[in-house]
Amino acid sequence: MNINFDKIWPYLPQFGQGVLVTLQLAALSAIGGTILGFALSLGGRQGSPVKWLVKGFVDFFRGTPLLIQLAFFHFGLPQITGWIPDLMTSTLIVFSCNSGAYLSEILRAGIESIDKGQIEAAHALGVKSFDITINIILPQALRNVLPAIMNEFITLVKETSVVSIIGLSDVMRKTSLIASATYRYFEPYLITMIIYLTLNIILSFIGKKLEKALRYD
């Protein structure tokens, strides 16, 4: 059988560097996406102009391929704006917007799932809208859609691999480089797959723990 890891071991640190980039990218995009997702989901509940802007934004980022968004933002836009962002910056912006768009839709569904009676009861007690949003709506909405949110994070981790195509040194790109340097393909890609799988199993595990912690019924 033609399997031989001996040539791959020396490259282990390279895998490590790639994983760090992937993790950094996924974590920062998840944070950016979550903040944006919250803002968009609340914006979508506002009056006319804001609502339509949000809808346009969400439709754009959900309706076009991520790879094209990346290429357009990183290679296309500088031609117009003259500002050439570094690769990491472009990637973070595009990934945050993209996952923000998906997360906002998930959160919106969560917000709509909350029964209006509780909100009315809070109004009747004299509670301000801001406190109702933060203390009544969001905790319950989050609880209801946590599995969907974790799903989105898992998708995000996997999708970060497309950045290798535009040249960011994530674990996927490192793997391709290792493969061409060693002429071995099976082993490096197997290792990388196991790395992604492990990351996502850990994420799932955290998700289950969180779900338990937020449980009230």
């Binding site: 009676g117 509780q118 009315e120 009861a121 809070a122 109004h123 007690l125 004299g126 406190d131 019924d217």
Partner: protein, 240 residues
Amino acid sequence: MIKLIHVSKKFKETVVLKNVSIEFEPEKTYAIIGSSGAGKSTLLRCINLLEIPTTGSVIVDDIDLIKDKAKLSTVREKIGMVFQNFNLFAHMTALHNVMFALIKVKKLSNEEAQIQAIKYLTEVGLQNRLNNYPHQLSGGEKQRVAIARALAMKPIAMLFDEPTSALDPEMTQEVLKVIKKLNHIGMTNIIVTHEIKFAQEVADYIIFMDNAEILEVTPTQLFFSQPKSQRAAEFLFNMI
């Protein structure tokens, strides 16, 4: 003191309240009765502006709530409301349901809010259920938490919208018992109910509504012996 002046409410084309005027005397108890769809809930919800009247004014303690929107939450704070479906905060224990507005609206400290909440939950007989979530409580218990939550704000008036309609007969009695204790202790109580016997027992006045209008506001004794309106007479006849 609560006053509705020429209040009308339309949902799209449907007229749900037609030029309703009424003044609630302080510290009295009013029962609103009438057939389903008459506009009873809408009238009640106009008092704390959960529904905004299409025309007319709502005056609470000399504040015109429609003109003076900034005062709205200050006034809502003074008017408690109890709903048919309880509307407890599902992610909070009974204790925290009561504490929430005390902290956010009355700005009490956590400790002070907790003391107050326990006091009011004890008053409705739920001292053993403080740390239970709504889904762990029976319907009657949920409604008593809701009553404690409203009472803890020390309101000048309480609005009840069919507080026992979602309950079986036994729980209905346990909740009615709690509401009876609130009678004539210094608050105005306005109760929409189908429990005619209960209305007869607690109310000083009966407000009879039909078809988007108040047909009469009559002292309870008189209403049950000699209703002024033909519709009320028919309604009572059908109840027996």
